[in-house]
């Protein structure tokens, strides 16, 4: 499929008034994916309770097509890392991520999953899951309100909407050169080995003394 020039918005709405729906393959495909994100049923700590609350009656994640929590990573599109990632748990999370089929997304929910949060000074706490796997959306908060998770969910939907199927800058999961699996860290005598995956984790250098 050649990347055709995008359809003129005015023309499209004019056609819509006449009862003719025009869409591109890319839009249709992304529309379908965006509205059926199945998360992995996977909770680590406190944030998992808010994640359940988001799926429960008051906030109802089903309105966004995300209520089908799959216990198996093989059937999931989205991993919500909800809670503190410990060094003992990190290899399992990377393994779960590797087992998810493409396209896959990661939401890092709450302070602990982003950076280790309040527990980051702990000897067994990983300072952010983005040391080993790429993260699409970060939600700060301890724990974030269910609305914040819904907001992140919509942010992810926007991201999916913007993914191109062809041409330069096409979505990473269609690009064979971009890895979709990452090495699982090993348990070492003092720490995980390696302590971060240098291909994934690029913290900015701080200039200060």
């Amino acid at each position: 499929m050649a990347s055709a020039p995008p359809i003129d918005e005015g023309l499209r709405s004019e056609l819509q008034k006449q009862g003719i729906w025009v869409t591109s393959m890319q839009e249709l495909y992304n529309w379908g994916r965006r509205n059926s994100i199945w998360p992995l049923q996977f909770g680590l700590a406190c944030c998992a309770i808010e994640m359940i609350a988001t799926a429960a009656s008051r906030y109802d994640l089903a309105r966004f097509g995300g209520e089908v929590f799959r216990p198996s990573p093989r059937q999931a599109d989205l991993m919500i890392v909800a809670g503190t990632v410990t060094k003992k748990m990190a290899p399992q999370i990377v393994r779960l991520y590797n087992q998810m089929p493409d396209p896959k997304y990661v939401i890092s929910m709450g302070a602990c999953a982003i950076s280790g949060g309040p527990f980051k000074q702990g000897y067994n706490v990983l300072k952010g899951i983005d040391r080993y796997i790429p993260v699409d959306v970060y939600i700060p908060g301890c724990p974030p309100r269910p609305e914040a998770l819904l907001h992140a969910f919509m942010e992810l939907q926007r991201k999916i909407d913007g993914q191109k199927l062809t041409g330069t800058g096409k979505a990473a999961f269609l690009d064979k050169t971009v890895p979709s699996e990452f090495p699982v860290p090993a348990f070492g005598a003092h720490d995980l080995e390696p302590p971060a995956n240098a291909d994934v984790f690029h913290p900015p250098k701080i200039e200060r003394h």
Binding site: K88, N124, F187, A189, K205, I206, H209
Partner: protein
Amino acid sequence: MEALDEIKVRIEAAIPGARLEIIPNPGPANQSSLLLDHAHASTVARFLRDDPALRLDYCSNVTGVDWLERTVKKKVKVKKVVEGEEKELEETREEIFSGYLEAVYHLYSMAHKHGPLVVRLRTRDRAEGAHLPSLTPVWRSAEFQEREIYDLYGIHFDGHPDLRRILMWDEFTDHPMRKDYREPDDYEYEPTPHDDVLEKAKQHYVPRPAQDGTANIAAQ
């Protein structure tokens, strides 16, 4: 429940050879404790559990404490002969308490609804492989908690049915709750550090040869 010294007297009468010591608690909580010797620890524990007046059948909390070697400076008044005259002088003396590891047990009675009786066991030193007798055969509730002490403090409990690491992974070699434990360096990105975190984060800062001089950077 009886007073602690009465209990001590009764134990010493019932178990010949048991060496007990009362460790006072200076705070307002008023929970003084009983230090047991290793050889008689499990006999004393059984006595505490089975004695009809005490019936301390429930061991609530088991925990380790790491006491570092500390020097306490004390001012002592000494009588000295100075220039043929006896004078009372103040001298600072340093007393060195050697470090040790400690296991603390909080005992209650569900039958009589009293407690707590605090029992302590101390190792000889803080060296790797310090030993203590296990009280898990007496109170099952100590099972996981003694494993935790073994994991985090490195005290070996003799007679524990299943002494393995519980919280950290099996390949781990340190005992992180000890006061002298140093965690691995993962301070690549610390935008808001202070105190000791700042010292660790500084190792990762961008070198500034112009301001700091190359020698200082090499020293780091």
